[in-house]
Amino acid sequence: MLSTAIIVFRESFEIAIVVAILAAATRGLRGRALWIGAGIAAGLVVAGLLGFFADRLDALLAGKGSDLVQAGFLAATVVMIAWTVWWMKKHGRAAAGEARRLGAAVIEGSKPGYTLAIAVGAASVRDGSELVVFLYGLALSQELTVAGVIAGAAIGVAIGAGLGALMYYGIVKVAPKHLFVVVGLLLAFLGAGMAAQCVSLLISADVVPAWVDPVWDLSETLPETGTVGQLLRAVFGYVSRPAGTQLLAYLAAFAFIAVLALGRPPRRSPTPATA
């Protein structure tokens, strides 16, 4: 049961980090808990489908089907994250929660809500598919009773969600003056990590060249599977053996999102960039 809890924790932790950061970024959005919940639910359903039909997908595209679909989801998530940053920037003070203090209307509207749901959902697909297949297989194999699987999974999710919540409150407690910068940078790292993962899948599917491979190799000293490595991977998108094109994608995504976050806000926002 412990090993189940650990594996479930690892995957749900990654989802929890994404949710925490996006939740912090969209504080001014009404009903965002619902959007986030819907996103996770939809993401897990898609993830389950992906996991179960992975072999059929693979057969469809010369063994690369599931890799390409995953790469597609990751690319979509990067775009969604960039959009969320742009939205955050545009709504200036309202997004930082000052709307209530100023008596201004809380941001409503389904467009940012959909984007949030899609971003969370797409991110859930990344880790969800492994999780769903693993749990289903475990329950079927009778190595563990169904109750044992549920218990282990519940523990794993609880700890993952708990750490995510900790992260959320940690981000939000940062003075509103710096909130933009902190959340913007975190989202930039998140997007960069996903872009790198997307390119890794494309290299594996032979769609994209690797160029220099690897640019560096820290897989012995700081493996992505170790405790520190996992944390670095979930928050900063750390890769122990990046290929040249992967690094390029990482830097490009980071620069793009960071500039969106830290640059001048879109014309309609009433606040100056350094509010």
Binding site: F134, S141, E143, S219
Partner: protein
Amino acid sequence: MRLALASTPLALAAAPALAADEAPFEVRITIRDHRFVPAEYQVPAGRKLKLVVRNEDKTAEEFESIALRKEKIVKPGAEIVLEVRPLKPGRYKFFGEYHADTAVGYLIAK
């Protein structure tokens, strides 16, 4: 006789092209009792590989390798086929994410 002599240079010219298109080197690995059998596999460097991983256990395993850039679930009783791009000489570690303490193996490219 003349035909044989005439076709020899043609055959020689075709040889390098054949080498480039040669079939991928097949590697067969089995997952048994949460271990890889064999745990070490010698492969030729610079040649495309076809990695066939068969899971004889009753639970799923996730075949993962940072070095080979592969991450794929192998359902119990099922087999997955992975294409690996030509490798430079070296040791390439792979592991089963769900049983990482026992399921570890290496591809040794020479």
